[in-house]
């Protein structure tokens, strides 16, 4: 099962140095905030201190009177008449009639220094009329809740629901009542999760320049330069191709940088100053108050199980708020809820609800961790009550290749069974547990994704290769794409350089999201390399005077395909490249498509915890991630993805939460009080890479980035129940919450 057993590859499955490593450890890597330009101004944003307020008046005269202040923009400077998602993006970029959450931008200032811009922003006077607000999802859809925006609901919402419900969905299969009747035990509970932020180390940063002629440039920290180009063009009324977007090195994204927050503001300010470049770098507090965390959720789940562990029916009703705009990932959550189980009778109901919170963004397997928390917690409760082994129950009900997924389509090749087998076999399952220690298991799922992809590859004069990709490298994709390209061309890994390029260099690429970069850009890079190989074989054939079909490519060189083709020594890539100027010109390859053959990924986690019964504090003693990678191109990066997903899930489970006061103001917009785990909070996270190759990818890749954040939430809740006998159905399971539960239990 280990990658070392795949002997057919020379490079795929090895662990070379990362191409971005030296730049990152020496500080040379250029992140968003590192980019500057001659004549540059600094921008600062004026933000609402209120959760919900009508903007009565904005008076920027004092700010504009300051020496060195060059421009102020408000919503009045943006085009009107937008609809749909473009309007939502514009409204979130800059509030119109009302501020919709604590931290919502209401104005922006450009000045000759950062300090001056910040001072000027403080002098912009905004008169507010405070309106009633709501931040909790259940309260937001209850009768009498303040309406965030009339008419925001789409056609899916039935008559009579609160206007804050903007999307409704239901789907299922079988006969749910008959399924519950068949069960020996039926349990139903409500589960809640709080919003969690992606917590990337690098705050959003953007340098923008926009002239009167509508031509603009952006140097920006983003996961998707084309996506944000379109979004900024929509918000500002520009032509997409006139905006050139160059992505910087990126210090984490996790989905939160696939969209825009303040990014149009440097452009808007630049235009108002006659085209001077303007830079905005968000503070951590701005990141937490005004960029997308994930949704908060309130979920009812009902499951029926037979005494032998067979799940007969399941019902999930999820309510999620994703801030003051549509877009909570309730659909994805429902699709993932029962994805690991072969259950004949299912019902899913979902509500996307508006509340006075920042606009949510994607966060690593959007929706799936919440769904797993509810479903995998309840499955654990059923197992406990029926005296069944939780891993055996998951194995008994596990979906297999060809099964119809809970959300409709038939699964292609999947590796849940192999993942569970590897989990059961791991030594961590045999570790002894002491007093107040417990073990929890859970399974998680992510679809993975392909998406629009455009890649170009060019051979240099010396036979080395450069690959231009449009997917920013957030998890090691440059290394893995270099490995696959080198493997395909038959040249050393070090001879390939992969560059993440600007929007002018390629066709449209979707962002690096959905665990797609190594799958989709990797597959396209292999196709591009094959195209170049075809051309190199033609060049050799021409020189040898034989048919191109009689030439094959082996170990980085063209050679006659057999004795009948002729007797010629192999012609290496360096030889072919060295004379390409006189044999037909540059040799390159490119590939544009929405690559088919996405492979889904299942994972199983096992966590051992110890609870201090006197303080409610939970310590992670041992943590195991087992996940199907399809094939690990660069195993160290795959392990890093597994560990990173687990670390973020542990934070979400134990301490991370958005805390609002009764005025709807975020109380913890700093890392001191928004408590992501620190290094000393975590043990070394053990990993097992299961490899059930994806037949839809030339090297078997599935995509590994997202599944890993899904199981930790329920696995930890299950382990805590195992340790101290209390079931906590609301996250985070922080010490005050767990101590209160322990006291209530007595």
């Amino acid at each position: 099962m280990a990658k070392d057993e795949f002997k057919e590859f020379k490079l795929v499955g090895t662990r070379p140095d990362r191409p971005d490593g030296l730049d990152k450890v020496t500080g040379r890597a250029r992140y968003g905030a590192d980019i500057s330009a001659p004549g540059m101004l600094w921008g600062a944003v004026v933000r609402s201190p209120h959760a919900h307020a009508r903007i009565v008046k904005i008076d920027a005269s004092k700010a504009l009177a300051m020496d060195g202040v060059k421009a102020v923009v408000t919503r009045a400077d943006f085009p009107t008449g937008l609809t749909g998602d473009a309007w939502n993006l514009q409204e979130n970029t800059m509030a119109g009639e009302r501020a919709l959450y604590d931290g919502h931008a209401v104005a922006a200032v450009a000045a000759i220094s950062k300090t001056l811009a910040e001072d000027a922003a403080r002098l912009v006077e905004v008169e507010y009329e405070i309106l009633p607000h709501v931040t909790d999802v259940d309260e937001a859809m209850a009768e009498g809740a303040p309406v965030i925006r009339e008419g925001a609901a789409d056609a899916t919402v039935p008559e009579g629901m609160h206007p804050n419900v903007v999307k409704y969905m239901e789907f299922g299969r079988g006969d749910i009542e008959a399924g519950f009747a068949e069960a020996d035990l039926v349990k139903e509970h409500t589960f809640k999760t709080e919003a969690a932020h992606q917590g990337y180390i690098e705050p959003h940063a953007c340098l923008g320049q926009l002239g009167e002629d509508g031509k603009g440039e952006m140097w920006v920290c983003t996961q998707g330069q084309w996506y944000i180009r379109k979004m900024c063009a929509d918000v500002l009324g520009l032509d997409g191709a006139q905006l050139r977007v160059t992505p910087s090195e990126i210090g984490g994204g996790f989905g939160g940088k696939t969209t825009i927050f303040m990014e149009p503001l440097p452009l808007a300010l630049s235009k108002k100053t006659g085209g001077r470049p303007v830079k905005i770098v968000m503070s951590r507090s701005e990141v937490l108050r005004a960029t997308g965390p994930t949704a908060s959720a309130s979920m009812d789940v009902k499951i029926g199980m037979k005494k032998d562990g067979t799940i007969t029916a399941g019902r999930a009703e999820f309510r999620m708020q994703g801030g003051a705009f549509p877009g909570a990932p309730v659909d994805m959550a429902l699709y993932c809820a029962f994805a690991g189980y072969n259950v004949p009778n299912l019902e899913h109901v979902g509500y996307d609800v508006l509340a006075n919170r920042p606009k949510c963004a994607a966060y690593r397997a959007p929706g799936s961790p919440m769904a797993a928390f509810a479903v995998e917690s309840l499955v654990d409760e059923l197992c406990r009550e029926l005296g069944l082994d939780p891993l055996e129950v998951r194995m008994k009900n596990a979906v297999k290749s060809g099964d119809q997924a809970s959300y409709g389509p038939k699964f292609g090749s999947i590796g849940l069974v192999e993942t569970l087998e590897a989990t059961v076999a791991h030594p961590n399952l045999q570790a002894e547990l002491g007093p107040n220690q417990g073990r929890g298991v859970a399974v998680g799922y992510w679809f993975n994704h392909s998406g629009e992809t455009s890649v170009s590859m060019a051979i240099s004069e010396d036979g080395t290769a450069q690959v231009s990709v449009g997917t920013p490298d957030i998890g090691g994709s440059r290394a893995s794409i270099a490995l696959m390209t080198a493997e395909t061309l038959g040249i050393p890994y070090e001879d390939v350089r992969v560059n993440v390029v600007e929007t002018g260099a390629l066709g449209v690429n979707e962002p690096t999201h959905g665990s797609r970069a190594t799958f989709a850009s990797g597959k396209a890079a292999v196709e591009a390399a094959r195209q170049a190989i075809g051309e190199m074989c033609r060049r050799a054939a021409k020189e040898w005077g034989i048919e191109p079909e009689a030439v094959e490519w082996v170990d980085g060189a063209a050679q006659p395909a057999g004795p009948n083709a002729g007797e010629f020594p192999p012609m290496t890539i360096a030889e072919i490249a060295g004379k390409m100027g006189s044999t037909g010109g540059p040799i390159s390859g490119h590939h544009e498509s929405v690559p088919e053959g996405v492979g889904a990924s299942f994972g199983a986690h096992v966590v051992d915890v110890e609870v201090d019964p006197e303080t409610g504090r939970t310590t992670i003693l041992r943590y195991l991630v087992v996940q199907d990678a399809g094939r690990a191109i660069h195993p160290a990066y795959v392990e890093g993805q597994y560990q990173g997903g687990a670390a973020q899930g542990i934070g979400w489970a134990l301490n991370e939460e958005y805390i609002y006061d009764d005025q709807g103001r975020l109380q913890n917009p700093v890392f001191l009080d928004y408590r992501v785990p620190v290094a000393s909070d975590l043990p070394m996270i053990d990993t097992v890479i299961v490899e059930v190759p994806n037949p839809g990818h030339p090297y078997g890749v599935r995509g590994v980035g997202e599944t890993g954040i899904t199981p930790p939430l329920p696995a930890i809740a299950n382990a805590i129940q195992d340790a101290v006998g209390v079931r906590v159905r609301q996250l985070p399971i922080s010490p005050p919450r767990l101590l209160a539960a322990l006291k209530a239990k007595g």
Partner: protein, 286 residues
């Protein structure tokens, strides 16, 4: 902003007394500079004390106690073997402040003057019966550490007054102290509850004790009832329960992003018991 580097505390006090706007004294700067950069407190006069002779020294006093300069960092305290042997609880409280980098700058006096009820080094100082020397524009005075904090962000210092040294009493024999705090993580956090215990034994019996709690009231508390609960005992279970009850009873906390009233009240008792046990063990071993 005016930046000053006085050569003596008398000069520092005179500068502060003559200043009109917002004044801040600068030693380690781990609060002052952070607040400045966050735009929370932008001083008109910033008076740097680090050029004053002796501010970075730890010296034994004539009576066997310790005099700690106002610019002595947490890292310096931790590296001072004799001081650690005398007052391990005081030092471990200070060492919990911030990260390794912050430890290179942060000071006991600064932690005290920041006025936070959650300051990690203050309960240990209160339990230790520490005091501060205060230099004013006209005169000097000595004040017990427990009387310095007057509320969140507030101290007993009058305009123009500056702390010029921190004094720890002689430790004496058969004594030990300890500090524990509760945080949800393992480091890089602010105390949800803190507790320091300092005690002296006569054989197995506690002859005298001081118990101090942090983050459970507007100021760090010296809890006499908790001290009395264990004085005269061998720290048996009944004494520990009485200690916990007294500690919890003294709490007057708030609900906030870091913890609830119920949680802080309960955990204050838990930490008091645990800290007392450590202090007792240290006293036995001394």
């Amino acid at each position: 902003m005016q930046y000053h580097t006085p050569a003596s505390f008398e000069e520092a006090a005179a500068l502060a007394a003559g200043a009109k706007g917002t004044t801040r004294f600068l030693a380690g700067g781990t609060d002052v500079l952070v607040q400045l950069r966050a735009g929370m407190v932008i001083p008109d006069d910033l008076i740097d004390l680090k050029r004053i002779p002796g501010v970075s020294d730890i010296t034994r006093t004539d009576d066997g106690g310790w005099r700690i300069g106002v610019a002595v960092s947490g890292a310096q305290l931790g590296a001072h073997a004799e001081l650690v042997a005398d007052w391990p609880g005081v030092v471990e409280g200070m060492e919990l402040v911030g990260s390794t980098q912050v430890q290179g700058r942060a000071t006991l006096t600064g932690n005290l003057c920041n006025g936070s009820p959650a300051a990690d080094s203050v309960p240990g100082l209160v339990a230790a019966c520490a005091s501060v020397e205060i230099t004013g524009p006209d005169s000097s005075r000595t004040v017990a550490v427990q009387d310095v904090p007057q509320g969140p962000g507030k101290t007993c210092l009058k305009p123009g007054e500056v702390i010029s040294a921190l004094i720890l009493p002689p430790r004496g024999k058969n004594a030990g102290d300890a500090y524990l705090r509760f945080i949800p993580r393992t480091e890089m956090d602010i105390a949800v509850v803190g507790c320091a215990v300092s005690l002296r034994l006569d054989g197995d019996t506690i002859k005298e004790a001081r118990v101090s709690l942090g983050a459970v009231a507007p100021t760090v508390l010296l809890v006499d009832a908790a001290s009395e609960a264990i004085t005269g005992t061998t720290l048996d279970d009944a004494a520990l329960d009485a200690l916990a009850a007294a500690a919890s009873a003294a709490c007057n906390p708030i609900d906030d992003k870091r913890g609830t009233v119920a949680f802080r009240t309960e955990v204050a008792g838990v930490l008091a018991k645990r800290a007392a046990k450590i202090a007792y063990t240290r006293a036995k071993g001394a």
